[in-house]
Symmetry: C2
Subunit: 625 residues, 2 copies
């Protein structure tokens, strides 16, 4: 089967009874013959000894309009191949494969049949036998966190990895492996095995089956996003397209709204305040109101307050999600925000106490809805008893939270969550999630390397909205004097608002830091959701220039990794006429400094970004004539 | 490629760049598409991204005459396919495959080429994707011993296993997986992996490469012996055929002679005597001479003496292979044996002190040759520092011992050795090896189950001569009164001489036990080597009836596992005329008893074996007219 434009080809075969597939682009094989199949707990392998009993190709083409996103219209155009298979012994199942212009995907579907009422899957035979020795960008496999540093290596030297994992072939073709529509299933990882990658399903501790699910439902898509350049990966909507349409969009959707938000958070990350009550408690009514004043004044639409509730003493796992601390007036603060036009973002840190959280979900969400709270940030710090963060039960938990939240008109930003798999198409209240080694590591750990921040857009970000929490203007702030700093310039922090996509974008720094930074203006201006996105220049781990349009305005974010470099990009994306470019650039020796300029440009010009090591540039283009 | 008789078919393919093969029998697929390849230490996989650059089919047909064996003539008739392959990146290699009427085999050959002067192999991609869910007979994977119990399970439930490992398909086809011509390589194991078996190479501790060898040489054959009934596996010479012709047969080969032998051994196994010097030392000059007298009187051609040398105190790893203990006169005993026609079998227990042994090999073998010793039994009890018993270095060691022994006209019986792989064709001085949970376990451990002894002929024995050490007449002897006994009847012990094949067959019991047993007569009569072998009836784990001819006489061994059963087999293998059958059968309630009878039979008769649980029957057929 070929993609609509004829460039990509996906072949499914069952030669000698062994189910497999291969993928090529323009005649060049990208993925050589690779196994397909599922291993069940009864020892059988669907796909190990099969015959093809039928095959059918259909096509789909449509355009959908996300409530928010990187583009206001998304085309969903593909050919679909269903291969019907009969396993030795008589069991039947299907492989459903799709070819898009920007990649291919496939999934399994095991119908309900005699002797197979439920599907107990130990692991998948699914492989990705990449040809040649492409460069790989990967992060070490971890069943409980995606907060490890990304790295690059030759494909032949890579280790087991979480996904998305991305590759560049010698001929400049890019390929990224991930999954889509992860539901009632264990998350996917990949592990090198004799020169190919094999899917690993996150296990449920103490249980042979990684997945126990009903027959009939299809397994998550295995997705290969393919592009002729690195920017094409970012521009792709393949992972979203492989999810069902919106499930919560009947009726009023006005409450589903991307948001820029401040937070009582960076202060705590630096040890200047605490989550738990006490003399340095961060979440006081007074501080919250001050932050609300600041946010309202600068067009920042929401305020996250961490540590507002009871339960931060001890293990964090017995939180009370409805009771505020004595020094925090929840209804009062929420109402104060409403009066100023600032949404309250309620923090639900479960401390890995998942059952405790589930028991309180209905009551808590009902309370939040009653108070007019439309945003929750969840957290799962710590070891979950009897489970991995990414096993089937936890995948189902995160989905359950999204569903219950939707019923109460609540948007969710999930931290310590399983990777996104495009579910924001189906549940657009999934505005953001973490699943990333984000900016907090610049406060609490070794920090993020410049290279890491330039790999993220081509790996982690391909899965969905990423709450990196940008916007630190005082990148050198180190109140504990323990050597921590943010490993970027201030200008790169501004660039993040364009280069990193999320339905919730934090303005993470302290009000007093913003007060003395000219960068605040850009944060005030920059939108969270976009009508159009174009990658102007991209080199994984090295540099990225992204242009995004919101209404009539264009924004550009440019950033570099370790290497100081000058990037020059044409402005041909602009409409006709004269435009004002408001640029925020790296300034001299001071990483916290900003060089803010205005200039007049047209679409025939090129723009120059002079970037320091770890630097960036953010530009707003407004039409003058 | 098809087998000469057209029944078996082996297909090698490189669809989508992935090298693989499949095997069918009469149109029915036995092994579905299975990967082929080698993973090298530089991360590349030969076979992962290849194209076929050429293929050639040749044929071979010849008959060779082993110096000793199960048949006096062996036909070596096959078709051979060489597939030339080029790996992405330019490396070239070949797959050489053969199809015989009784199975198929394949191996890799990597020519010397630029950038690949030596071959460093981490593991093999080689798979065996058996179709359906055949019954498997396997023994758990162990890199240091083959002395674990054999077991059966469905293919889908088997664990990692040493080889040969044997399968019965639902349609009654049998298939056994093993290797041939193991040389300068690590031994093979197989491990289940997503419904198929994958080759595992025994690792060298602390080294990434399981194998470091020169380019040019082919890797060991991966062998699939295939038969329409279980007996066909035993009758096959496929593993031997896949080894080079005799390398030591130029000149005088009169010293290469299979042998029946007694030993100062069972006494020690039962704690009645010791290896190390002291008041109960087993290996005294006096006892050796008594045993020689016994052997000479009963046509037993050799005597094994364990514990004759210095070094049994302490760890056993510092043995002296030339110095006898003070109470043992080595030259005197050897000469006394010579005078009575009894060969001395010198015991070399290395105690896993491999380097110590190698240092003494030349001197020891030269001494043995000077004294007229033509047989050595080696042993490798214990952990080998820095190595597994079956890793590449040890495989090379066992081969080195065979080569050096041949130079000194010495035959070898290797205990705690790697499995045989048919090398007795090339080195017929490899008369026997252990690599089996043999009879000693009935003295020192839990004993061998009747089922185990009925699996061995269809698994372990397919690899080559097996020194099980049969012949215990007093199966109930328990001098320590700790509940040990031999878990067979005496008649089954006699049947072993026919059912179990070895170039060295022990008469393992004590002379005083033989003195009161009518079974000794059969041991006197039965040959060690044969002109013709036919399996009359076989069910793995359950029963086996084997007929073997030596000159004009036929011998039959029948045995059962747990189940008491009556086996009736036609005597059509006999020549015309009247024959006397001397039968040794299970007797009433006494497992140590024998029912010895003579009867007159012809080829038109059938013979009946009434077997107790764990029982057997041995019969000698002599032509009368």
């Amino acid at each position: 089967m070929r993609s609509p434009d004829g460039v990509l080809a996906l072949a499914v075969s069952a030669e000698g009874g062994r189910l497999g597939y291969s993928v090529s682009r323009g005649g060049s094989v990208l993925v050589g013959w690779s196994a397909l199949g599922l291993r069940l707990t009864d020892g059988s392998v669907l796909g190990g000894d099969v015959e093809v009993t039928g095959a059918r190709v259909t096509a789909g083409d449509g355009t959908w309009r996300p409530l928010w996103g990187a583009d206001s219209r998304v085309r969903d155009h593909y050919r679909e191949l269903t291969v019907r298979l009969r396993q030795a012994g008589g069991r039947v199942f299907n492989v459903i494969a799709r070819a898009y212009d920007d990649g291919v995907a496939f999934r399994y579907q095991v119908p309900e049949q005699a002797g197979l009422r439920s599907l107990e899957i130990v692991d998948e035979a699914t492989e990705f036998a990449l040809t040649g020795n492409p460069t790989a960008w990967w992060t070490r496999r971890d069943f409980d966190t995606d907060e490890n540093t990304w790295q690059s290596s030759p494909y032949s030297a890579m280790g087991a990895s979480n996904t998305p994992v991305t590759f560049r072939y010698e001929d400049g073709t890019y390929l990224s492996i991930h999954e889509a529509d992860l539901d009632d299933y264990a998350a996917m990882t990949v592990a090198p095995d004799l020169g190919r990658l094999r899917v690993g399903l996150v296990p449920t501790p103490g249980r042979a089956a990684a997945v126990i699910t009903r027959t009939g439902r299809a397994t998550p898509w295995r997705v290969l996003t393919i592009a002729g350049n690195a920017g094409g990966l970012i521009e792709s909507h393949l992972v979203e397209n492989l999810n069902p349409p919106c499930a919560i969009c009947k009726g009023d959707t006005s409450w589903i709204k991307p948001i820029k938000y401040a937070g009582i958070w960076w202060l705590i990350q630096h040890g200047q305040a605490t989550w738990k009550p006490g003399p340095r408690h961060g979440a006081t009514t007074e501080r919250a109101k001050e932050y609300i004043d600041f946010a309202a004044e600068h067009g920042i639409e929401g305020l996250l307050v961490e540590g507002w509730n009871r339960g931060w003493e001890g293990s964090w796992a017995d939180q009370d999600f409805t009771q505020a601390t004595p020094d925090f007036d929840l209804p009062g603060v929420v109402a104060y925000g409403k009066s100023k036009g600032v949404e309250f973002i309620v923090h639900n840190e479960t401390g890995a106490g998942v059952e405790n959280y589930e028991q309180q979900l209905d009551a808590a969400f009902a309370l939040y809805e009653r108070l007019g709270i439309h945003y929750v940030k969840t957290g799962y710090v710590g070891n979950i008893t009897g489970h991995h963060h990414y096993d089937q039960r936890m995948v189902n938990h995160y989905r359950l939270v999204l569903e219950k939240a939707a019923r109460h008109r609540i948007n969710v930003d999930c931290h310590e969550c399983v990777h996104a798999t495009g579910e924001a198409r189906t549940f657009p209240n999934a505005l953001a999630r973490e699943a990333v080694r984000g900016q907090e590591w610049d406060a609490i750990g070794d920090g993020n390397t410049p290279e890491h921040t330039l790999i993220l857009p081509f790996t982690r970000m391909l899965s969905g909205p990423m709450d990196y929490t940008p916007g630190i203007m005082d990148v050198l702030w180190d109140p504990r004097r323990d050597g921590h700093r943010v490993h970027t310039t201030a200008a790169k922090q501004l660039a993040y608002y364009v280069t990193y996509f999320s339905g919730m974008q934090m303005a993470a720094d302290l009000p007093e830091h913003y007060a003395r930074s000219p960068g605040l203006k850009f944060i005030e201006d920059v939108p969270v959701t976009w009508d159009e996105t174009r990658v102007l220049s991209a080199g994984i781990g090295d540099h990225l220039v992204v242009a995004r349009r919101s209404g009539a305005d264009w924004y550009v974010g440019a950033m570099t990794g370790d290497r100081a470099q000058t990037l020059r990009y044409p402005l041909s994306f602009l409409g006709k006429g004269t435009w004002t470019a408001e640029s925020y650039s790296d300034a001299g020796d001071d990483d916290a400094g900003l060089d803010v300029r205005r200039s007049a440009v047209t679409r025939d010009d090129a723009f120059t970004a002079v970037l320091k090591s770890g630097g960036g540039q953010a530009v707003r283009f407004r039409r003058v004539t």
